[in-house]
Every structure is written in structure tokens, then in C-alpha cells.
């Protein structure tokens, strides 16, 4: 089982807000539409997005998402950081673009047995 901290380390992510780094990562969802994440994200998913505003934290809390990753080196807004600290939601930043990061993450999760092709 992969943890958030293992993912952060292997993918060289910059951890901006440290929540529960020992949380299990069981999959990942990628979307910049918040109601789409509400509909299709799952408990213990990582969430990759370009959205940097505080509602990202609210969605992560409601959905029980294990951590949020912002790509293309986009930094969370100051209010987003404050909210994430209060709610203990992990926020990490990658210098890679979404495609590159998702590819690496997919391979990691597949090696770990968490991703099975053809299931959703």
C-alpha cells in the first residue's frame, strides 16, 4: 500500500501543507471541475488539479481525498493554505505537467497493485 509520503518522495513533490502523510493512496482522479470531482472522486484518491482557490480544500474534505497535487508549479492561494492547515488536508506541488505526473503516478500505483486496467 502506498502512502501519501511515499508518493511525495518518489515523485519529488513539494509538500506545501502537511496533513496526514501516512494516509493510504488507493487511486487518483484528475479534474478541474469541482462537481465532477464530487461525482467521480473516491475516498483515499489523490486529486490532481490546476485549481488553487480555497474551495479545493472543501471538496477534498467532503470527499475524503487523501491529498491534493497541483501541477505546473501552480501555488495554492494563501487562503487555500490557511484552510488546508485548519482541515489537515495535504497539498503538494509538482513542477511536472498533469500528463507527465499522471503517467508516473499511474505506473507507481500499477506496480503497487492499486490500479487495475479497465476498472473505474
Amino acid at each position: 500500500m502506498l502512502t501519501v509520503s511515499a508518493v511525495a518522495e518518489k515523485l519529488g513533490l513539494n509538500v506545501v501543507v502537511k496533513g496526514d502523510m501516512s494516509q493510504i493512496v488507493s487511486g487518483c482522479y484528475i479534474s478541474d471541475l469541482l462537481s465532477d470531482v464530487m461525482a467521480h472522486g473516491k475516498d483515499d484518491d489523490l486529486w490532481i488539479t490546476l485549481q488553487t482557490h480555497p474551495n479545493v480544500v472543501a471538496v477534498a474534505v467532503i470527499k475524503g481525498i487523501s491529498a491534493v497535487i497541483l501541477t505546473n508549479e501552480r501555488n495554492p492561494e494563501p487562503e487555500t493554505i490557511r484552510k488546508a492547515e485548519a482541515e489537515k488536508v495535504t497539498i503538494m506541488v509538482s513542477s511536472l505537467n498533469t500528463f507527465e505526473l499522471a503517467g508516473l503516478l499511474y505506473m507507481m500505483l500499477k506496480d503497487d497493485g492499486s490500479v487495475h486496467a479497465g476498472t473505474s
Partner: protein, 149 residues
Amino acid sequence: MTENSPSEGTFHLMGGEFTNAGSASSELKSTLIKVGVEKSIVRRVAIAAFEAEMNVIIHAVAGTLRYEITTEAVTITVTDMGPGIENINQAMQPGYSTAPDWVREMGWGAGMGLPNISKHSDLFKIDSVVGEGTTLEIIFDLKEKNADS
């Protein structure tokens, strides 16, 4: 807001108040976990409550989110003062949205909120009067075993 009990309570919502959006739903989620509602139901209630809360913030002027928890059901009633919904069937269509561009830039306005509420609840009623406001009643059964959606 601090007077809410484990069995019923009210949250006040303000249109345009995006910064604290979701706080009513996450407090409700904590309450449901505390009173021991089954995890899969908590998840469904939280999703529906959040979408309803966001719709007041995005589309209306002000409103309230009320909850009632019994051994039978969780009932959420969201009432707002706002523009109302002219065509409810159209509003229920996935992808239909009147959200302005700046709201869409935040990632809202995919037209998925009302369909999400409908999908995750056991009973969903909308009443709306154009120029006055909208009321949603959303019910989750706690008794029967429902197919988990």
C-alpha cells in the same frame, strides 16, 4: 450555528460567500459520523449537501440549510431567496448551467450539482418560484438497505 444538536440544526448561507463554502456540509458530515450513521450514507449526504450549499452560494442571494436526523432518515432542506429556477427539467439536465464565467473559472458551473444530488439521494424534490427562491428537500433512508450509489 453553534446551537445545532445531533438531531437537528440550521446553517445560514450567503450568496457569493465562496471563501467558507462547504463549511455547513462538512460540519453536517462530522455530526453524521458522530451519531454513527453508516459511512456510505454519510458520504452520499455530504455530497448532496455540499452541492446544494454551493448552489445557494453560486446562484442565490441568501439561504439556509436545515437538517434533521431520525432513526428512519436524514432530511436536508435547503431554502433560498434568489432568482429561482424557470425550467426545473432543464436545470436537472447534466451539463446545463447558467453560472457566469468567473464562477466557471473556479471550476464550478459544470451543470453537475443537481444531477449529483439526485443520484446520491433516495428522494429529491425541488420547488422554485421565479424571482423569489428555491427550496430543495433531500431525503436519505437509514432503514432499508439501499443499493449503494
